[in-house]
């Protein structure tokens, strides 16, 4: 245990020593003046009552002195501010995962399963950052990239509830109906791809892109453009579509776009689709960046405070018994 202000302790001990010396001096000096000589006090000190009272007196005095010393010592120690120093080498795995969910009605149940899966995975993550963007007519960030796993869990909980028809639906989907139409897939992917921050650092960036790729409106960014944007930013997009691979024009387009970014296309008819996405994401080599180690110094006043409180109670009890 280190002390933040050890000089307080030093000064305090010095003051205590001065006080003790002053009391002792006063005691010794003022003695003869007010003392009366008594003869044959042995008849008194021999008495069992006197012996018992003397023992009790000594016990009380010792308790008082001990409590006072402990109180003073603990207070001084507390005043010197003991700190705990922990040396931390923060490791952050530079893997960013953006959940990019199409929240049009047909996709809700798949989204829910995806969210559930990620909620489970979060427990094992260390340093990975997760963000979540939902889109329909327009894209809205549910939560940005973060490694605050408590917060992520909380948000994923809310998302799962909303996606399975829970009570917070309206609030959750707010901001996804602002575009020209619904299911503007290209806008959604573009938003997700641009949601990665720290563009200048080397990080493994993935987008889990769940959509049926059925556009009902006029997107600002076509899906192919969004794919090129992803490739330019070195973001891998893992596609997840309810339709089987190659079953429709939309799914073929989506597969082309997704594979163009280095990601893979999964069909939801495939039972292991979600597991596969997770595996592929995790298989990506995470760049581990070690930050410079730093010392964290936190006040830890619990022990001195507890000791001082105990001593104070002891002091009060002992001095009360004294009077009785």
């Amino acid at each position: 245990m280190e002390l933040r202000t050890p000089e307080v302790l030093a000064w305090g001990l010095f003051a205590a020593a001065l006080l003790a010396a002053a009391v002792l001096w006063r005691e010794l000096r003022g003695r003869g003046a007010t003392r009366r000589p008594v003869a044959n006090s042995a008849t008194l000190t021999r008495l069992p009552a006197f012996r018992a009272a003397l023992r009790a007196h000594r016990a009380r005095t010792a308790a008082l002195a001990g409590a006072a010393a402990l109180l003073a010592g603990a207070s001084l120690l507390g005043a010197a501010r003991p700190v705990d120093t922990t040396v931390e080498r923060p490791q952050s795995r530079s893997r960013d995962i953006m959940l990019c969910l199409d929240v049009s009605g047909s996709m809700a149940s798949y989204d829910a399963e995806l969210v559930r899966t990620f909620r489970r995975l979060v427990a094992d993550f260390e340093g990975e950052r997760i963000g979540m963007v939902i889109f329909n007519g327009s894209a809205a960030t549910v939560f940005p990239l973060t490694d605050d796993y408590d917060y992520i869990n909380e948000e994923l909980d809310g998302a799962e509830q909303a996606l399975t028809g829970g009570s917070v639906q309206d609030a959750f989907f707010a901001g996804t109906f602002n575009g020209w139409g619904t299911s503007l897939i290209g806008d959604g992917l573009a938003t997700c791809v641009t949601s990665f921050d720290r563009a200048d650092t080397q990080r493994a960036r993935s987008v889990v892109f769940a959509t049926d790729n059925e556009v009902a409106g006029r997107p600002l960014v076509p899906l192919t453009d969004a794919g090129q944007l992803a490739r330019a930013k070195a973001v891998r997009v893992y596609g997840l579509s309810p339709a089987p691979d190659g079953a429709s024009r939309e799914s073929v387009e989506m597969r082309d776009v997704v594979e163009g970014t280095g990601g893979r296309f999964y069909s939801m008819t495939d039972r292991g689709a979600i597991g596969g996405i997770v595996e592929s994401v995790q298989a990506q080599e995470a760049t581990v960046i070690e930050s410079a180690s730093r010392a964290l110094r936190t006040d830890s006043p619990a022990l001195p405070i507890a000791a001082a409180s105990l001593a104070f109670v002891g002091l009060v009890v002992a001095s009360r018994r004294w009077r009785s």
Binding site: T34, A39, N40, A42, T45, A49, A53, W322
Partner: protein, 294 residues
């Protein structure tokens, strides 16, 4: 010392002179002795305490108050003051005075009566280690010297007290019949003292005055109390504990009773002195008791 010890004795007597104590004391003292000469000296007024057989009835009949005969003392009586001068006597009495002052006042009072009566006064004083003696003389100056000697010898830093030491000296060295006035420390008298007293009272008249000790359980908390024997400071919190006070009061009562019973069994008149104010009445009562005892 500006005032002499004898002056204090006379002052104490004077304070009591409004009451008939002064002459009463002389009467009581005079009656202590058996021997009277047949040489008639003069008459004086009767004072309580005089022997009834000394009343001159014929002279009284011619007068309006009783008169007693006074005789010329043929034999000088010997008063031997036996005083403890150990450090126990340098302690305080319940009134807060030094025990030695009370002892000196009592010794001075009886000594003064003796000198007035024409007797001689001597002194045996000492501690557990050492005993000193002073010769017998019948002058006030000599008495003053004796009182001063007791005062000088008693100190808190002196030797410990042991009342048996002086009594043993008297047993060994004093052959003549004397009136012994023992000024004793307030403590249990052991078998040794009892044995010595048993031998002394056969040969002498013994008067015993105990100078009481201060009660440590009654000394207020603001005033410290320490034992002169070893300097041990009695903690105020302990000695003022009600249970301790009670136990000590019982122990003290027991000691007083045991001492009184012992001295009564030996036929020795005994008095206790708690302050210098009590000296005159206590000595009066002591002399009275001694006269009655015979």
């Amino acid at each position: 010392m500006a005032t002499t010890h004898l002056l204090r004795v006379k002052t104490a007597l004077f304070v009591h002179a409004r009451r008939p104590a002064h002459s009463l004391l002389e009467g009581e003292y005079a009656s202590l002795f058996h021997g009277r000469s047949l040489d008639y000296d003069d008459l004086r007024g009767y004072v309580p305490g005089d022997e009834v057989r000394d009343i001159d009835w014929k002279a009284t009949a011619r007068h309006d108050a009783p008169l007693v005969k006074r005789y010329v003392a043929t034999r000088k009586h010997h008063l031997l003051l036996v005083s403890d001068t150990g450090r126990g006597m340098a302690a305080t009495t319940p009134s807060g005075e030094a025990k030695q002052d009370v002892a000196i006042l009592a010794a001075g009072l009886v000594g003064y009566l003796a000198v007035r009566h024409g007797d001689v006064v001597g002194l045996v004083r000492g501690t557990a280690e050492r005993t000193a003696t002073h010769e017998l003389r019948g002058t006030e100056g000599h008495l003053e010297t004796l009182l001063q000697a007791i005062d000088d010898a008693t100190a808190v830093t002196g030797d410990q007290s042991n009342p048996a030491a002086q009594l043993r000296w008297v047993v060994r060295h004093v052959r003549r019949r004397m009136l012994l006035l023992v000024l004793a420390d307030d403590r249990d008298l052991g078998p040794e003292v009892e044995d010595l007293l048993r031998r002394l009272r056969v040969q002498h008249e013994v008067l015993w005055l105990t100078i009481e000790d201060a009660d440590p359980t009654r000394i207020p908390a603001g005033v410290g109390a320490y034992d002169v024997a070893d300097g041990y400071a009695l903690p105020a919190e302990v000695r003022l504990d009600p249970r301790v006070q009670e136990a000590y009061a019982a122990e003290r009562a027991r000691r007083v009773e045991v001492t009184a019973a012992l001295l009564a069994r030996l036929g020795i008149a005994h008095g206790r002195l708690a302050s210098s104010e009590a000296v005159v009445p206590a000595v009066l009562a002591l002399l009275e008791r001694q006269r009655r005892a015979r």
